[in-house]
């Protein structure tokens, strides 16, 4: 017998290691992964697209504007009960007795369960939950539950919590926890001695709320048996089934999560949350579907907020504009949580730097990830400081920033923004304009990652009748995910937007990453593109005989036609050549189709009435790069959204806590001021087309960071008042004016 020759092993595809962001609970962490070195075709030049990088109207638009789009909050199932959560009214307490007898006797009340917490560390902490036949009766039940509390001492303001004799948020633990020390204090001190000017400041940023218009919550459809369906208002379809299955005592694979449309998340909607836990338990107990959506009050007191910050900064500058040193003491104000705050000096070069970072706890619910977690806080403080340094040495703030920023992209963006806002009209003397209505301008700079990771698996199916489906379990938060998913496939196959249908928002479909940290577009779009390219190649192979047997890559898909060798057939004719079951391609992530690192520059003009302290935002400009803009229309909208949320943080929003009661005084839209139609300035969202990277990068976070600093600095330019405490409200302007000579300059 002949000896069998060993078969040559197919050599494994060459791999390379790269670092990518992965989002856990909305916060980016970098992990190392292996990817193929050899890749497929790319996106091509950014200006050569037929659909992408154009203005494409939202595919879910027609349903949303007519009320036909179904959100989690709109689900109503037969026999469904309504859940509500009872909350602790004290800043710090223990439940000593929970009497549910009267409540459980109310007609329509089906279940009451006690919460999981033994110690309630903030007002609003969940005590119990009920399920009833109507939301009204569920409300009655909450009011009928008698709770006896042992009230413990609380502290809700950071400036109180830092005192050694302050009540402890966690017994036996210091409210102040050291987190990091970096740099060399000695060197920084030495460098200060070489500075021509020193600026020192203490900066506070408030806790703002996500205020998603659709509150957190879910509908758990479990009626006994071994499977369940869950409709969730979530930023991560795939963050739901695991935890829900645990609560329900089911296999994870038997719990299907769906999120067809969702009404805003901004970082606050990952996992089932405490409300989801209650919903599952209530459903399990009653064997009925349960809908538990938070009330607006609930949403304020415990569905999340952006970490507050308290920063003490000191910097030294030379007359030529060189910043020589910075020392920073940064307190993260995250309530019972850790809080978040980007490290100083943020994006600037500041010579010798030293910083200390602490978490400072109060009896408030934990802050959670909010659009660019930690960044607006750091940006606000450093941009205020940088601005002050520039004024101090009488250097133009734009020129000063260029001097201290290495990255050329910022330079061109600063020039562009200055032109757009009309920087030359600005009075370089702060508060120097005559009259009581004083205008001023400011600018600021920001960055973000925005890279993707390898979590998305996408199927593209083409049927014999020409129908095209693209399927992946991802979710659309209002960011335009549906639209670009469809557009990528349509463009690749040379057909129209209406010729493709997308299926998303369901955990039965291909895996997808949770939407946090601007990672969705750079994670999803490469997988969609990969699936679309593969579908095109499969189809090209099938139709080759009809077109004189070209190589698959020679077949052109364009304008609804498929052609090669001078022959052309219609899309429908081409599809007819497919096997009866059609074809399905599977797309995976490709690192080369995305990139990481965005730049954004903001300018703002405001008008301050120094007689009333009223601030009128006049104009905001934000320039954002992001590689290949998948859809210019939705990208501009998202930039607007970033600017507006930043505007809210600058002038309007902020949780107000009562020191005595330990509770929030403004847990509703009547008292918590969101920016509204009357506050809107002229807004100019600019996509930076000088960025030629042929790669998709997420931009959602990038555009919420620097507008804040630009607005705050515009107030300074207008009034000469450096207000370091957000939000800048009229009372702060008036208080500030009393201590300065600005009025007499008018």
């Amino acid at each position: 017998m002949q000896q069998q020759q060993p078969q040559p092993q197919p050599s494994p595809k060459p791999k390379k290691k790269i670092r990518v962001p992965r989002v856990v609970n909305g916060v980016e962490q970098m992990v190392e992964i292996e990817v193929d070195e050899d890749t497929g075709p790319g996106w091509g030049p950014n200006d050569k697209h037929t659909l992408l990088n154009h203005k494409i109207t939202r595919v879910d638009g027609p349903k949303k504007v007519t009320g036909m789009a179904l959100y989690t909050y709109d689900m109503r199932l037969p026999g469904m009960l309504y859940g509500r959560i009872l909350r602790c009214p004290h800043g710090h307490a223990r439940v000593t007795k929970l009497d549910t007898e009267a409540a459980s006797k109310l007609p329509g009340v089906k279940a009451i369960i006690q919460g999981p917490l033994t110690e309630l560390r903030f007002a609003g902490a969940p005590v119990a939950a009920v399920a009833a036949t109507t939301p009204e009766i569920a409300g009655d039940a909450l009011r009928a539950i008698k709770v006896t509390y042992e009230v413990l001492p609380h502290v809700v303001h950071a400036t109180d919590a830092i005192r050694p004799d302050a009540p402890k948020v966690v017994a036996e633990e210091n409210n102040l926890q050291e987190k990091a020390k970096n740099g060399d204090l000695q060197k920084a001190e030495t460098a200060f001695a070489t500075a021509d000017a020193i600026v020192e400041g203490e900066y506070f940023s408030q806790r703002v709320h996500h205020a998603c218009l659709e509150t957190h919550g879910m509908v758990v459809d479990y009626r006994g048996g071994d499977s369940a369906s869950i409709y969730a208002s979530t930023q991560g379809t795939f963050t739901i089934p695991g935890d829900a299955a645990k609560e329900l005592g089911l296999e994870q694979s038997k719990v299907i999560a769906s999120v067809e449309h969702m009404g805003g998340g901004f970082g606050s909607k990952f996992g089932i949350g405490i409300e989801g836990m209650f919903a599952c338990r209530l459903s399990k107990q009653t064997k009925s579907p349960v809908k538990l959506m938070l009330t607006r009050y609930d949403e304020f007191v415990m569905a999340g907020n952006r970490s507050g910050s308290w920063q003490k900064l000191k910097a030294g500058v030379k007359n030529d504009g060189t910043i020589v040193a910075l020392t920073a003491r940064q307190y993260r104000l995250g309530g019972i949580g850790q809080g978040s705050q980007a490290g100083q000096p943020y994006i600037y070069r500041m010579g010798d730097t030293y910083r200390e970072v602490y978490a400072l706890h109060t009896n408030e619910d934990s802050s959670i990830a909010m659009r660019a977690p930690g960044h607006p806080q750091a940006s606000f403080a450093i941009e205020s400081l940088v601005d002050e340094l520039a004024y101090k040495i009488k250097m133009d703030p734009v020129a000063f920033r260029k001097k201290n920023l290495r990255d050329e992209v910022y330079h061109r963006q600063l020039d562009r923004g200055a032109k757009e806002i009309g920087w030359s009209r600005r009075n370089p003397v702060a508060g120097g304009n005559p009259g009581p209505l004083k205008r001023g301008m400011g600018c600021a700079v920001g960055t973000w990652g925005g890279g993707g990771n390898n979590q998305c698996k996408v199927d593209v199916t083409i049927l014999q009748d020409g129908a095209v489906y693209v399927a992946v379990g991802t979710q659309d938060l209002g960011t335009g995910t549906r639209t670009y998913t469809r557009a990528i496939v349509a463009e690749e196959l040379g057909i129209g937007m209406n010729d493709v249908e997308e299926h998303i928002g369901n955990s039965k479909l291909g895996a997808a990453n949770p939407s946090g940290g601007s990672t969705t577009a750079p994670s999803l779009s490469p997988s969609v593109k990969d699936a679309a390219i593969k579908a095109r190649m499969m189809m090209a192979e099938r139709v080759a005989p009809l077109l004189g047997n070209p190589k698959p890559e020679e077949v052109v898909f364009s304008g609804g036609n498929v052609s090669a060798n001078g022959r052309s057939i219609t899309w429908k004719q081409a599809a007819a050549a497919l096997p009866a079951a059609g074809i399905t391609s599977h797309g995976v992530w490709r690192a080369d189709l995305q990139a990481r690192g965005v730049h954004g520059v903001s300018f703002a003009e405001v008008e301050v009435d120094i007689e009333t302290g009223f601030i009128r935002p006049i104009k905001m400009v934000h320039i954002q790069d992001g590689g290949l803009p998948l859809n210019r229309l939705t990208m501009e909208s998202q930039i607007n959204g970033g600017m507006i949320q930043s505007l809210g943080m600058a002038f309007y929003e902020g949780r107000v806590m009562d020191a005595q009661l330990g509770m929030q005084l403004n847990p509703g839209f009547g008292d918590y001021k969101l920016p509204g139609s009357l506050e809107m300035p002229e807004m100019v969202p600019i996509i930076d087309d000088d960025d030629k990277r042929e790669a998709v990068i997420g931009i959602a976070e990038g555009c919420i960071i620097p507008p804040l600093g630009a607005l705050v600095n515009a107030v300074f330019n207008a009034t000469g008042l450096r207000i370091r405490d957000l939000p800048i409200t009229p009372d702060k302007i008036l208080m500030g004016l009393m201590n300065t000579t600005v009025i007499s300059r008018g």
Binding site: K55, T57, R58, D60, G61, P62, K64, V65, T66, G67, M68, A69, L70, Y71, Y73, D74, R76, Y82, P89, A102, T134, P135, E136, G139, D140, R143, A144, K146, V147, A211, C212, L213, E214, H261, M262, G263, G264, M293, T295, R296, Y297, G478, T479, T634, S637, N640, G641, I644, Q645, P667, G668, F669, G670, D671, L674, P675, G676, S677, L678, M680
Partner: protein
Amino acid sequence: MTKSRDRQEDQKQPGHDPSRRKFLKGVGIVGAGAAIADQLWVEAEAEEQRPAPDDIKGRVKVVLDVNGEKRTSQVEPRTTLLNTLRNHLGPAVTGPKLVCDMGTCGACTVLLDGKPVYSCLVLAVDAENKKITTVEGLGSPDKPNAVQAAFVENDALMCGFCTPGFVTTISAYLKKNPNPTLAEVREACKGNFCRCGTYPRVFEAALAAAKASRA
């Protein structure tokens, strides 16, 4: 008077009759505008002192004219128009959204005899014998009205949760003022909140819709 305060008071005296709260909801028809709403909350507080008459316990039949159709349901008299549309009609009418449930956001806006109201501040029993138009009644995905079409065209929506409220408010406003200025559009929208930040394009859409309707 905020809802939370109301809630906390209730918690302090858990034995009281919770059905009294119905008076807080029973402030009648309120035009879109948070300021007016605030005013009415104060009046509602005074009302709250009265004892609850017996005849409003249990369920009553309501017949509502929703988007040109007679719809019937049994609801507790304290049930808002919004919750009746969403929770008690079959099939449900879920275009109007529940966002604050206290007249501060505009997401629940519907038209009562052509006038925009916050349906979370109207009792279903008070909406009988009136023409109720929700966002669904203004147009459909295939046949949108001018405002709906302009919203899509100008990308005046993101998550879309505030959108039914804006569309309804603006559709009613353009009937009243077919040729508005930007300032007037802003004023008309001041009772509606959007968190995603669609305002600039909402204004553009409103002006575009006005223009298209005039053409």
